[in-house]
């Protein structure tokens, strides 16, 4: 630990020189981050644990939301959530604008989700692992039917290409604005619109064959 110690001889009352007592230079005061994204970014770039903890608490809900919308409910959600922050801390130098911290964190989440989808498919090659490997906690107010509809929705999403799945999940399930979807996916607005159009065609075409979903389809979605 670098304490910048300096040895200074002490003179005690008897006039006898005492053993030198180290003087510790004060360490830099901890940075406070409340409402100050510039300070937060600065602390993150210095790998300060306080900044990293604050970053987690501030952006975990948004990151978690992105992961859940794309991946659905699966056993890997906790690991994916950790991975997002590990990656974010390691690659913080990529961020220049403190105001971009949140969207950047969500973009890391999209990339982690894509990696998880690829890993899922590799595991499926050996044994069937669906997106409903999750042990659902008991949520008394949630109807069985809604859970069945949620499972069915992600079974259909499992059949979409990953890039289409991401934009559909963020736009149609999360309700994210198109410009934000483009930002967190790192693509142009035109690309998002194109992918969304294809995703909607595919999703509704598949969904209308599922009894859990068919009554939720708008007639214009499958004509």
């Amino acid at each position: 630990m670098n304490t910048n110690t300096v040895e200074v001889p002490r003179i005690v009352k008897s006039g006898v020189k005492a053993a030198p007592e180290p003087i510790r230079k004060p360490r830099r005061a901890p940075v406070t981050f409340v409402g100050d994204e510039s300070a937060l970014l600065e602390g993150l770039k210095r790998s300060e644990p306080g900044a990293q903890a604050t970053f987690f608490d501030a952006y975990e809900p948004a990151v978690r939301r992105v992961l859940a919308r794309i991946l659905g409910m699966g056993d890997e959600l906790c690991d994916a959530l950790q991975e997002c922050f590990f990656r974010a801390f390691r690659s913080i130098d990529a961020v220049e604008d403190p105001k971009a911290l949140k969207s950047w964190a969500m973009r890391v989440a999209v990339n982690v989700a894509l990696d998880q989808l690829r890993q899922r498919r590799r595991r499926r090659w050996l044994v069937l692992v669906g997106s409903d490997t999750w042990r659902e906690p008991s949520v008394p107010t949630a109807s069985n039917e809604l859970r069945a509809v949620l499972r069915a929705t992600y079974r259909v999403l499992d059949r979409l290409p990953d890039d289409e799945r991401v934009v559909f999940a963020l736009r149609r399930i999360d309700g994210m604005e198109l410009a934000d979807v483009a930002r967190v996916c790192g693509v142009s607005l035109a690309t998002v619109k194109r992918r969304l159009s294809r995703a909607e065609d595919r999703f509704f075409s598949l969904a209308r064959r599922r009894p859990e979903l068919v009554e939720w389809m708008n007639p214009e979605d499958y004509q």
């Binding site: 987690f56 919308r69 659905g72 390691r90 990529a94 890391v108 498919r121 949630a142 499972r151 009894p211």
Partner: protein
């Protein structure tokens, strides 16, 4: 707000609830904070979020990483490289030897002796194989955008990354699909919807007269067991589904032996959760509906009623929902059963005034319940369709007062008038 957007909102809410209840955030937080401080990488970040100069090389590396690794042109070879395959070519295995087809992406299709097939399409995402007659073993390697299809007679089998055996007997118009690993979706004239077949299951269907007769779907301990034991299932009617002897890469004996010793018993609840509602209803009936109604929890009964509704058995659904109500009010299940009886009357039977009765019952007992908005909207719809226009107008005004921007608001405004 349209119906799907309304559903999406509710799904997102449910998902958030489930995640919170699971404690995922707390677990992740504990692990992340325990690992702090985490040092930033001193190397350039090789991900797609790299900013600044020097992007080109990293972007090129990322582009190669994202682009499918199988950059070679899609193709296949017949009989272990002795003959390059051609799209549309007629492929016929001899009477004594099987014929393997090896595809560029690592997938393999093996024609059993006497089988005939054609590869009719090849694309980057996969291939399309038409099985003219006989039996093939299919092992599709799963990639990011895998889309394989097998056509057997009038049936289409959609494949994502699986291992299975399929047989088509044109003289009997009989299809068999036996899954070793993974899952396929089968569509065709025997059903109105796709049928999913999972590992360990066998699907059989045969044309009888003008219709198609689904033969009992066997939950065999393993598809391999069905495949190996030629006399194991209806030996008088089926040809043996023996795997070709050259298939050493397809399957090993060990998993089959283990699965044969430990048969898997799948409950109706598990089938329903997996989306196999017809299978769930069949299994429930095998177990005894009366037994389930007597001993099952209210939540289980609601699941069964739902599975029956999705499987197209409204009578069973109605019976189960009434049984839930007979247990008395005082639980959320009672209210859900009331609402679902209304929906059943409306959707499955077109009995609109009966549906309106149930929705009114729900609103009387649970005026601020979780389904109050839906019940109110459906009440408007039911009365209107049932011809009670005065009742519909009252219900519409009530709906607009309580839920002015709900999904039924447009309908309510039209009925309520200016």
């Amino acid at each position: 707000m349209n119906r799907f957007d309304e559903l999406a909102e509710r799904l997102a809410e449910l998902q958030d609830q489930l995640v919170v209840e699971s404690g995922v955030s707390e677990q992740a937080r504990a692990k992340v904070l325990a690992a702090l401080p985490l040092q930033r990488s001193t190397r350039s970040w090789r991900g797609p979020i790299l900013v600044g100069a020097g992007l080109t090389a990293a972007a090129a590396a990322v582009a190669v990483w994202i682009v499918d690794p199988f950059a070679e042109r899609p193709n296949f070879v017949v009989n272990a490289s002795s003959h390059p395959g051609a799209v549309g070519e007629w492929l016929s295995a001899s009477s004594t030897k099987s014929l393997p087809l090896d595809f560029w992406d690592g997938s393999q299709v093996i024609l059993a002796p006497k089988a005939q097939a054609r590869v009719t399409e090849i694309e980057d995402e996969g291939a399309r194989v038409v099985l003219e007659r006989g039996k093939i073993t299919v092992q599709v390697r799963h990639r990011r955008t895998t889309r394989w299809q097998v056509q057997a007679g009038p049936f289409e089998i959609a494949v994502r990354g699986t291992r299975f055996v399929t047989q088509w007997i044109p003289e009997r118009s009989e299809l068999t699909v036996a899954l070793t690993e993974g899952r396929v979706d089968v569509s065709g004239p025997a059903w109105t919807e796709e049928r999913s077949v999972s590992a360990g299951e066998t699907l059989r269907v045969r044309k009888e007269g003008d219709g198609w007769q689904p033969l009992p779907r066997a939950h065999a301990p393993s598809a391999a067991a069905v495949v190996d034991e030629s006399g194991s299932v209806e030996p008088a009617e089926l040809e043996a589904l023996d795997e070709p002897s050259e298939v050493s890469a397809v399957r090993s004996a060990k998993p089959a032996a283990k699965e044969a010793a430990d048969p898997v018993v799948v409950t109706w609840q598990e089938l329903a959760k997996a989306g196999d509602y017809a299978g769930a209803v069949t299994r429930a009936k095998e177990s005894g509906i009366a037994e389930i109604l007597a001993t099952g929890s209210s939540d289980q009964l609601l699941s069964l009623a739902q599975a029956a509704r999705f499987a197209g058995d409204p009578e069973l659904s109605r019976r189960v929902l009434r049984a839930v109500r007979e247990r008395g009010p005082g639980s959320p299940a009672y209210g859900v059963a009331t609402y679902d009886l209304g929906r059943l009357a409306f959707d499955a039977s077109g009995r609109y005034l009966e549906a309106a009765h149930w929705f009114r019952e729900y609103l009387r007992d649970y005026p601020s319940g979780g389904l109050a908005r839906e019940a109110s909207g459906r009440l408007v719809e039911s009365l209107e369709r049932g011809g009670d226009h005065l009742g519909a107008t009252h219900a519409a005004n009530d709906y607009l007062r309580r839920f002015p921007s709900g999904p039924h608001a447009a309908l309510a405004r039209r009925i309520a008038g200016p």
